[in-house]
């Protein structure tokens, strides 16, 4: 990894407090070649990671223990450094109100658990403009 002749990898930030879900999303994302997933369980950690990497895409859960996903979306979308990064929401059935708020705040897409890996792969490819 990081060899001189290797093309730069796309970095994807994944914020999701459920371990199984987080690992599944990360594995799905990394199944696309050229993508590197950086996953965290906490919104706070995400705030710390944001300035340290240049993320090409952010995928976040809404319901998390420290700051909620909506706050993260708002933070990203209001910050000139990150605001152009596409952002997906991962949500569960029955939280339509929260999901709608996320979309209103500027999230690009949402995924309702359980979603198929292919649908996530399709979305990621589209937003990263991969063939």
């Amino acid at each position: 990894m990081g060899g001189r002749f290797q093309p730069m990898k796309f970095k994807i930030l994944i914020v999701e407090d459920s371990k199984a879900s987080r690992e599944l999303i990360a594995a799905t994302v990394e199944s696309i070649s050229g993508l590197e997933a950086i996953a965290t369980s906490s919104g706070f950690e995400a705030l710390k990671l944001l300035p340290r990497h240049r993320f090409d895409l952010i995928i976040t859960d809404i319901n998390m223990p420290d700051i909620n996903g909506l706050e993260l979306i708002n933070f990203v979308k209001k910050n000139p450094n990150y605001r152009d990064t596409p952002l997906f929401i991962v949500t569960t059935e029955g939280r339509e109100k929260d999901r709608d708020r996320g979309l209103a705040l500027g999230a690009a897409e949402y995924l309702v658990k359980p979603f198929s890996p292919q649908s996530l792969v399709g979305l990621v490819r589209r937003y990263l403009k991969l063939a």
């Binding site: 319901n63 569960t92 059935e93 709608d100 589209r126």
Partner: protein
């Protein structure tokens, strides 16, 4: 493991973890019954249900996700104060946990029984109907709060509800702004939070959208204060926090203007949502907005019934018109169906409690799944520092390997030339060997420690089951747990849960009297059942005791006589303790005996066997009218044990050292025969003696001295006479397969260093043999 199996194992492991946390919180809630519940506690339980819903939906576990969803909805109403936490709600929540556990158990075995599905539907309906009375709110108090619509748009539904709740109660609200360095803002925030928590409620933590410089970040905490502003300000002295009061307009004649905020945000949301969905290629139906679907009948279990929600509840209410008794009956029916597919037997018509108790504990048996406190996951959580220590040891082992390699190289180069000093070689080699030995010891110790888990894990699970058993049996029970932090091998802890469950169930069903009977006997109304663990050297003793009616040993004796388990002559010889221990004999208990005796002895032989398989022993003591106590004495670990290697008639055996108390050297003349039993006098007490050669039918040697290994477990003692002692060694005990499995007195086999295989003595069984010899001597 294949990919799917791995995913399932992952799901079960995480699901178990969530349910364990959920169970702990519910237990706290249960103990606080009658007081106002902590919002944080309710919210924690809500979050657990929410996580479980998301997790199970992700893995396509629809029944779990559906029930978790319904529980989440109920908890949502609970934490929003739309519903008060009464007994009915709490009991339903605890029942939900039980059903979720049963569902997870089925999921782990990749089955899906109709009985359980029916129960999920029934319970879900009940959850949905709880407190569905006051739903309509005519005016949203939140509209009276002067809060930027942009800030409000960032709240989740819950945060909004909490805020609304605070406004409604007239709590003073503040925006607390604090800026931190990006590198350590979380500690700063945690510090701020810990100051604020005692003073009120932190409704939300919002990272400020204004860039806080290159390395800074600002947060807005929305805070509902229980204390006056001046006190709040004083408490925040010395922190980077600034305080801004949020104004609330008076309720009367509610100003319509601010109400426009939310609808605006809403319509924007609608607009952007329209553009999104077509791109999501979710194959399954759940994406469909549920409100558009025609409601189904109560029993329907279709894949997209996951979306069933309280919205439909009123339509299902007809089902709920049944009386509570009928409902309970329905649940019991469902449980029975879940236990067995065979038609109900005649005796099932009795009190429901009985039907659950007259089954022996069957390890891994499918029947226990509704009841078992056994964990579903084989995972052990290990403190990372323990793993680090192991890594270090491995590193040191590599160092030794390098040293040895160097010596090999050196010796190769010296070949041909004069062997300089073989003595030096020897010294160096033996130094390395000693090092190797030490490190391997450390590695072994470390691995054993990594396998250890606190028994509290299983205690907590049992505590939840106790509630339900007590309720079903109509008993009032205080369940007391102690020593939950005592550690045992994971394997042992898991194998313990069923036997413990069985004993506790007996204590509740048959030991504890009804509240009326207790009051009549001059006891407190509530019976007490306690479960305690204590470490005693290499063993852990677990005690299950109750303050109930106790066991009538004469009844036990009569029963044993009637069943021809003992003879009249034997019965006359037996001590009270021996009589009590007859309840463990196979064949002692049947469902019929339950009602005739004071009720003990239901499948206890199986319990005893299970404990025996763990190289443990079980003992009972009881005082009539005062209570009963079972003691389980267990080794701390099964994996690797230190053994004493002994020789008898030219054969070699290993004796687990943890049960060896001392070793005596005895002259034949010191052995006395009392009533045809050989005994030794050791420091004034009489020790029964067993000649191992005789026991196993080997030709006996004539020795001028015997070595007597004094073995003991709990309070039993036995001297085992052997010919020679060969030393101590760590062994890994392997079970004897096939037809050798049932050989009494042997617990397994082990490899000794020089590729010799020896049999390992089962000290527990030998002790019993000793006892029964004593019993037979008349």
């Amino acid at each position: 493991m294949n990919q799917a199996g791995k995913a399932l194992a992952e799901f079960v492991a995480e699901g178990t973890e969530i349910l364990e946390a959920l169970g702990k919180d519910l237990l706290v809630l249960d103990q606080q019954r009658g007081t106002d519940p902590e919002p944080d506690l309710i919210n924690g339980i809500f979050r657990a249900a929410h996580s479980l819903k998301g997790l199970s939906a992700l893995f396509g576990q629809e029944r779990i996700s559906k029930l978790a969803h319904q529980a989440e909805d109920l908890l949502d109403r609970l934490r929003l104060g739309k519903l008060s936490l009464d007994d009915q709600v709490l009991d339903s929540l605890i029942e939900t946990l039980d059903v979720l556990q049963a569902l997870l158990a089925e999921a782990s075995r990749e089955v899906s029984s109709d009985a359980l599905s029916g129960r999920v539907t029934e319970l879900g309906t009940r959850l949905a109907n709880l407190g569905m009375t006051s739903a309509a709110v005519d005016e949203d108090p939140l509209d009276r709060l002067e809060l930027d619509a942009q800030v409000r748009a960032v709240f989740t539904e819950y945060e909004e509800h909490r805020l609304r709740e605070n406004v409604r109660r007239g709590v003073a609200l503040f925006r607390v702004r604090a800026a931190f360095d990006l590198s350590d803002f979380d500690t700063g925030l945690a510090e701020l939070n810990s100051r604020l928590k005692p003073l009120g409620e932190v409704v939300s933590t919002l990272p400020s959208s204004e860039p806080g410089g290159a390395s800074g970040i600002a947060f807005d905490l929305i805070f509902g204060a229980k204390v006056p502003e001046s006190e709040l300000a004083a408490k925040l002295q010395g922190t980077p926090a600034q305080l801004f009061a949020l104004r609330v307009r008076p309720a009367a004649g509610g100003a319509p203007a601010p109400a426009a905020h939310a609808p605006v945000a809403q319509s924007v949301a609608q607009g952007s949502r329209q553009s999104a969905p077509p791109s999501v290629e979710t194959p399954a139906a759940p994406k469909k907005p549920r409100k558009k679907r025609a409601p189904k009948g109560g029993g329907a279990e279709t894949p997209d019934a996951v979306t069933e929600s309280p919205v439909q509840a009123p339509l299902l209410r007809a089902v709920e018109q049944a009386s509570p008794e009928e409902l309970t009956q329905g649940v019991l029916e469902a449980m029975r169906m879940g236990e067995s597919t065979s038609p109900p037997r005649a005796e099932l018509a009795g009190p429901p409690v009985r039907t659950l108790t007259d089954e022996p504990v069957s390890p891994r048996g499918p029947r226990m799944e509704n009841e078992s406190a056994r964990s579903l996951t084989q995972t052990v959580r290990v403190d990372i520092s323990r793993l680090d220590a192991l890594m270090n040891t491995v590193g040191e082992l590599l160092l030794i390997k390098a040293n040895l390699q160097r010596m090999v190289e050196a010796s190769r180069q010296q070949e041909g030339s004069v062997m300089l000093s073989s003595k030096m070689w020897g010294q160096e080699l033996s130094r390395e060997t000693r090092q190797l030995e030490r490190k391997l010891d450390a590695l072994q110790q470390g691995l054993l420690e990594a396998r250890m888990v606190p028994v509290g894990q299983v205690f907590d699970r049992l505590a939840r089951l106790v509630r339900r058993i007590a309720r079903d049996a109509g008993k009032e029970i205080d369940f007391v747990i102690g020593g939950g932090d005592v550690e045992l091998d994971k394997l042992i802890v898991e194998e313990l849960s069923d036997p413990l469950m069985h004993i506790i169930r007996n204590a509740i069903d048959h030991g504890a009297e009804s509240p009326e009977a207790r009051l009549a006997a001059g006891k407190s109304r509530r019976a007490r059942v306690s479960l305690r663990a204590e470490q005693k050297g290499n063993h852990v003793v677990i005690e299950v005791s109750d303050d109930g009616a106790g066991i009538d040993e004469l009844g036990v004796r009569d029963m044993a006589l009637r069943k021809n388990l003992i003879t009249e002559a034997q019965a006359r010889e037996m001590s009270r303790r021996e009589l009590l221990n007859l309840i463990f004999l196979p064949g002692f208990s049947t469902a019929r005996s339950v009602s005739e005796l004071s009720g003990r002895g239901v499948g206890l032989d199986v319990v005893k066997n299970n404990i025996g398989n763990l190289s443990g022993i079980i003992d009972v003591w009881s005082e009539r009218g005062q209570g009963t106590a079972f003691h389980l004495t267990l080794p701390v670990t099964l994996a690797i044990i230190r053994a004493l290697v002994v020789g008898v008639s030219g054969r070699t055996y290993a004796v687990p050292l943890n049960s060896v108390l001392e070793i005596l050297s005895v002259k034949p003349s010191e052995i006395r025969t009392v009533e045809r039993r050989e005994v030794l006098d050791v420091r004034g007490t009489t020790l029964p003696l067993m000649r191992l050669a005789r026991q196993f039918g080997h030709p006996e040697r004539q020795n001028d001295r015997h070595f007597v290994v004094v073995a003991g477990l709990a309070q039993e003692r036995l001297g085992i006479a052997v010919d020679e002692l060969q030393g101590q060694q760590d062994i890994v005990v392997k079970s004897l397969g096939g037809r050798l499995q049932g050989v009494r007195g042997i617990s397994g086999a082990a490899d000794l260093a020089n590729r010799r295989t020896v049999l390992v003595l089962d000290v527990g069984a030998l002790l019993e043999e000793g006892m029964s010899l004593e019993r037979r001597r008349a």
